[in-house]
C-alpha cells in the first residue's frame, strides 16, 4: 500500500493530499501534514494534550484523501492497530504524549521484534505521570531509546520548528520503512503549539523511500521473511501478498518460526540493534551554528535549541567563541560528530540545556571528560536565551 501512496492522490476536485504552498500552521498540524505528504494510509490514536491537534487534524484530513482514521479505546489499542496496519503494508501512525507513550512501550518492543515499520509522535509535556498536561517537557528522551524491555534499535527525531515538524515526519516514515523499525518524533509542547510559516513542496518533490519487497514470486516457498540482506534489513511481504509469513514476538529464525535457542536469540537481537547502529552514518541528522572555531559548544534540541540559537548569536556579538550542535536525530545521537569535534580539539567545554534533569547530557559525558555544564528545568518552562547566555559567559 505504501508504495502506491503516490498513486493515491485524490481526484482533482477532492482535498489535496500534499498541501503545496506556504502555510502558517501549528507544529502539531505541520506534523500531521508531513504524515499526509509521506503517504500516510492509517492513523489510530487516543487524544492526549498536547498532541491532540495532530489527531484532530488527521480526523478531517486523512479520510478526505482516501486514508483511514480510527479513534481507539486507549493507547494500547492505538499502537497495536498501527502495527497491524503496517503488517498489511500501510504507512501507519499514531500521536500521543508521555502518559500514552508509557502505555505503548510493550507493543513498541513487539514492532521492533517483528520488524514492522511504524511512526509514533510524542509531543512531550512535563512529566512524570500526569505531570503538567498543557506545559512543555523534554523528559521522554531516554524512554524513547530504552522504554521497552530488551535491546533493539529505533530512531528518534527532534524538530525545533513547525517547518521541521513537517520535514522530519516525512523522514520518519522513510526511515521506518527503510530499516523496518518503529520511529519516533519527539516533539515538545512549545514546538507543537507554536505557529510559523511552513513551506510545503510539490508532491513530486516529497522524498519517498519504499519498503524492500520479496525478490522471489509468491507460492514458490523460497521467501524467508526474516532473512536479512547485507544492510541487515529483511525484505518484507505484506498480508495479502500471497507469501507465507509468520510473525511473532518470540525469538524466531529466518522463516519467522519460533526458535527458542540462545544462539538464534543472540543473532537476532544483534541484528535488530546493528541495523540501526551500523547504518547510523546514513540516519544521523544534525545542524550546526558557529561550531568550527568554538571553544564552547551548546548541544540542544527541540524548543530548547531555539533559546540556544538566540544565546549563541548574542554571545558571538560579544566576541565569545560559542557554537551550537543541534541533533535533529537524537537517536542515533550524533556521536561521530562529537568525537570529531573532540579530535579537532578546539572545544574546551560543552553546555547542555534541557527540559529534563540531564537525559542527553549523559551522551556527552559518556564521550568526553571535558566540563559539561548543565541547565536543567524539570518542565513547565523552557530555558531562556539569557539563562544559557549566563552560562556561556561564566
Amino acid at each position: 500500500m505504501s508504495s502506491k501512496a503516490a498513486q493515491k492522490q485524490a481526484a482533482p476536485d477532492s482535498p489535496q493530499r500534499v498541501l503545496t504552498g506556504r502555510q502558517f500552521m501549528l507544529g502539531d498540524h505541520a506534523c500531521a501534514e508531513g504524515a499526509l505528504a509521506a503517504g500516510l494510509d492509517f492513523f489510530a490514536g487516543y487524544p492526549i494534550t498536547p498532541s491532540t491537534e495532530v489527531a484532530e487534524h488527521l480526523a478531517s484530513r486523512l479520510p478526505a484523501v482516501g486514508g483511514r482514521f480510527v479513534q481507539m479505546e486507549d493507547e494500547l489499542g492505538s499502537i497495536a492497530a498501527i502495527i497491524g496496519a503496517s503488517a498489511a503494508g500501510a504507512r501507519s501512525f499514531t500521536a500521543t504524549s508521555g502518559p500514552g507513550f508509557s502505555l505503548m512501550m510493550e507493543n513498541i518492543g513487539l514492532a521492533a521484534m517483528m520488524e514492522l515499520p511504524c511512526v509514533i509522535v510524542n509531543v512531550q509535556r512535563a512529566s512524570p505521570s500526569t505531570g503538567l498536561p498543557t506545559m512543555v517537557g523534554q523528559s521522554d528522551i531516554l524512554q524513547a531509546r530504552w522504554g521497552s524491555h530488551g535491546d533493539y534499535g529505533i530512531v528518534a527525531y527532534c524538530p525545533s520548528s513547525p517547518q521541521e515538524c513537517f520535514e522530519l515526519t516525512i523522514d520518519a516514515f522513510n526511515t521506518a520503512d527503510r530499516y523496518r523499525i518503529p520511529v519516533f518524533i519527539l516533539m515538545d509542547e512549545v514546538v507543537g503549539h507554536m505557529a510559523e510559516r511552513v513551506e510545503i513542496p510539490e508532491a513530486k518533490d516529497i522524498p519517498h523511500v519504499p519498503r524492500k519487497g520479496p525478490r522471489t514470486a509468491p507460492g514458490t516457498g523460497q521467501f524467508l521473511p526474516y532473512a536479512a540482506d547485507a544492510d541487515l534489513v529483511p525484505p518484507i511481504a505484506h498480508a495479502g501478498d500471497g507469501y507465507k509469513v509468520h510473525m511473532t514476538g518470540l525469538t524466531h529464525d529466518e522463516r519467522g518460526y519460533p526458535s527458542l535457542t540462545a544462539e538464534t536469540h543472540d543473532k537476532l537481537v544483534h541484528r535488530l540493534v546493528d541495523k540501526v547502529r551500523l547504518n547510523a552514518a546514513d540516519i544521523v541528522d544534525f545542524e550546526e551554528q558557529d561550531v568550527d572555531d568554538a571553544d564552547c559548544v551548546i548541544v540542544a534540541y527541540g524548543c530548547t535549541a531555539r533559546s540556544a540559537t538566540a544565546a549563541v548569536t548574542q554571545a558571538r556579538a560579544e566576541g565569545l567563541r560559542c557554537g551550537l550542535l543541534r541533533p535533529k536525530t537524537i537517536w542515533p545521537f550524533p556521536e561521530a560528530r562529537v568525537r570529531r569535534l573532540l579530535e579537532i580539539g578546539k572545544v574546551k567545554r560543552f553546555i547542555v540545556p534541557e527540559i529534563n534533569l540531564g537525559q542527553m547530557r549523559r551522551e556527552i559525558e559518556r564521550l568526553t571528560q571535558l566540563p559539561t555544564l548543565r541547565l536543567n528545568h524539570a518542565g513547565g518552562a523552557m530555558p531562556t536565551p539569557n539563562a544559557i547566555l549566563e552560562i556561556i559567559r561564566s
Binding site: T134, H193, M194, E196, R197
Partner: protein, 181 residues
C-alpha cells in the same frame, strides 16, 4: 517599524483573540514576507481566566518564540489588563476596550477604542476583535493593510467575510485618523 515587534492580545475565551493573533501571523509570514511566530495560552489557563495571543513579527529569523516585553498590547478584558499591563514596554502602545476595561487612574498613556460599539454599528458586536485588530495594524504598522486584508480573505468563513473586512477597515481608519472630520 523596528526590526522586531512583539504584540500581545489579551482577552477572555470566546472573544476571538486567537483568531486575531493568527491573522496577524498569517499577514506577516505569508503576505508581507516577514518572519512571524504565534503562541497562545492553552488548557485550564485559557478557560475562564485571562487568555493571551502573542505574535512576534521580524525582518529576520525568530529564535526564542515567546513575547517577553510587548511593544503593543490590546486588551478586551479587565483581568487581562491587570495581568499584562505591567509587561508592556516603556512607550509601548496600549489599546483598551473601555466598556470592558477600567484602566488605573494613573494609567493615562493609552488608547480607548470603542471596538464593541463600532462593531455593533457595523452589524455585529462579535466583530469587535477585528475592529481592535484594524486599529492595531493602523497604529503599529506591524503588518501592511493589504497583507491583513489578504489574511482575512483567506481565513475567515464566507458568512463573516464582509463584516470582518468592514470591521478591519473601520478599526484601521480610526487609527490613521481617516474620517475624523
Amino acid at each position: 517599524m523596528p526590526d522586531t515587534i512583539e504584540i500581545r492580545l489579551g482577552g477572555v475565551g470566546g472573544q476571538g483573540i486567537a483568531l486575531a493573533g493568527t491573522l496577524l501571523g498569517k499577514a506577516a509570514a505569508l503576505y508581507d514576507g516577514k518572519e512571524a511566530v504565534f503562541t497562545q495560552t492553552y488548557g485550564p489557563e485559557a478557560r475562564g481566566g485571562a487568555s493571551r495571543a502573542d505574535i512576534i513579527v521580524s525582518d529576520t529569523a525568530i529564535a526564542y518564540p515567546f513575547v517577553t516585553r510587548p511593544q503593543v498590547l490590546a486588551v478586551l478584558f479587565q483581568e487581562a489588563y491587570e495581568k499584562f499591563r505591567p509587561q508592556l514596554a516603556p512607550d509601548g502602545l496600549l489599546i483598551i476596550e473601555p466598556d470592558l476595561v477600567n484602566p488605573h487612574d494613573d494609567d493615562s498613556d493609552l488608547v480607548r477604542l470603542p471596538a464593541i460599539k463600532i462593531a455593533e454599528e457595523l452589524g455585529n458586536k462579535l466583530a469587535a476583535n477585528i475592529v481592535m485588530l484594524g486599529y492595531l495594524v493602523g497604529a503599529s504598522k506591524a503588518v501592511s493593510f493589504h497583507a491583513m486584508e489578504e489574511a482575512i480573505r483567506e481565513t475567515v468563513n464566507e458568512r463573516h467575510l464582509d463584516l470582518d473586512l468592514r470591521a478591519f477597515n473601520a478599526g484601521y481608519n480610526e487609527a490613521i485618523g481617516a474620517g475624523d472630520d
